[in-house]
Symmetry: C2
Subunit: 201 residues, 2 copies
C-alpha cells in the first residue's frame, strides 16, 4: 500500500495537471489526497512549494523511465520518437486533454518567483535531455548534434502539450513525431557519412 | 497617448509574463496599470478572464507581425527561423529570463478551466502557424509538409520558452534555430526534387 507521503505526491500531481501551481490550494490537495492539511505539513514542512518540488522530482523520473522504455521497445532509433509522440497523443485523448505533465506549467509559472521549483524543473528537463542524448549517441549520432537534437525533442514535447491541449486535437503530436524522426534519421546518416569519408582518407 | 484600455492591456501582459494567469490578482493589475479596479471593470466587465482574452488576442497579433517582419528581412527562408530564435534569445537575456510571451503559460493553466481563454490561445497559436505555413509555402515547401513544419515551429518556440527560462541559458534557442532551419532546407529540397522528377517524366 502506498505511504501517505506517496499518496499526497500522486494526488498533488493530478491537481497540478488540471490547475497548475498557482491555481491549486492546499485544501484542494487535502481533499484530493484524503490527507489533512496537518499531515501535508508533517511530510512537507515547507508547504506547497516543497511539496511541488517533490512532485516535479517524482514526475521527472517517471517520464525519463517512460522515454527509456519506449526507446528500448522501438523498431528503430528514429521510430522511438514517433512512438513517444503517439503515446502522448493516446494519453491526451484518454484524459480528455488534461496536461500529461505538470512540470512545464509549473516551470513557466514560477521561473521568476521560486528558485527551488525552478531548479527542480531544470533537473527534470535535464534528465530527459540526457536520456535522449544517450539514446541518440548510442544510435550513432555525433555527440554535439545528439545534445542539440535531444534539447529540441524535449522542447517540442513541452510545446506540443500546450498546442494540443489548446486545440483539443492530437494531430500536431503525430506531425512532431514524424519531423523529429526525420531529423534523427538525417543526423544518423550525416554522422555515418562523415565517418565513411574519414575512413576512406 | 495610449488609451486607458490599452494601458491596462499592456500592463496586464507584463504581469502575466511574470506570474501567469492564476498568480495574478486584479489589484496587481490595478497597481501596474495605474487604473482603478472600477476602471478595469468598466473596460472589461467580465473581469480578469475577459481582460486576459484581450491580452492574448493583442499579444498573438504582435507576435505574428514580429514573425512576418523577421521572415521578410531574412537572407533565406531557412534563415528566418535562425533569426527568429536568435531574436527570442536576445529578448530573454535582456529581460533576465522573464517569459517573452504569456500565452503559453495561460494556455496551460486554463486549458481545462476557461473555455474563452482556451479559444483565445488557440486563435493566437493558429495565426502563428498560418503565418509560418504561408512563409514556407511561398519558399517552395509542399503545403502539407509546410503545415506540419509550421506546427512544429510554433510548438518548439513555446517549449523553448519553458526550457530556456528554467535553465536560464539561451543556448537551446540557438540549437532550435539551427535544427528548424535544417528541417526547412530539407523540405524545400525534397519538394524541388519531387517537382524535378515529375517534370522529367
Amino acid at each position: 500500500m502506498a505511504s501517505t507521503r506517496d499518496r499526497i505526491i500522486v494526488a498533488t500531481n493530478e491537481v497540478f495537471r488540471r490547475y497548475g501551481y498557482n491555481g491549486t490550494s492546499l485544501s484542494q490537495i487535502s481533499k484530493a489526497s484524503g490527507a489533512t492539511i496537518g499531515s501535508i505539513y508533517h511530510f512537507f514542512p515547507g508547504g506547497k512549494e516543497s511539496l511541488a518540488v517533490a512532485v516535479v522530482d517524482a514526475t521527472g523520473e517517471v517520464y525519463r523511465e517512460l522515454f527509456e522504455a519506449i526507446a528500448a521497445d522501438a523498431e528503430s532509433p528514429a521510430g522511438a520518437y514517433v512512438d513517444f509522440f503517439s503515446g502522448a497523443a493516446a494519453v491526451l485523448e484518454e484524459s480528455d486533454f488534461v496536461d500529461p505533465c505538470p512540470i512545464g506549467t509549473i516551470a513557466r509559472e514560477v521561473a521568476n518567483s521560486s528558485e527551488p521549483l525552478r531548479q527542480a524543473a531544470d533537473r527534470a528537463f535535464q534528465s530527459w535531455i540526457d536520456a535522449a542524448r544517450t539514446h541518440l549517441t548510442a544510435a550513432g549520432v555525433r555527440p554535439d548534434v545528439a545534445g542539440e537534437l535531444a534539447t529540441v525533442f524535449v522542447s517540442t514535447v513541452e510545446g506540443m502539450f500546450v498546442l494540443t491541449r489548446t486545440r483539443r486535437d492530437t494531430a500536431p503530436l503525430h506531425a512532431a513525431g514524424r519531423q523529429l524522426a526525420a531529423l534523427v534519421e538525417q543526423a544518423i546518416e550525416d554522422t555515418a557519412d562523415v565517418r565513411a569519408s574519414a575512413g576512406s582518407k
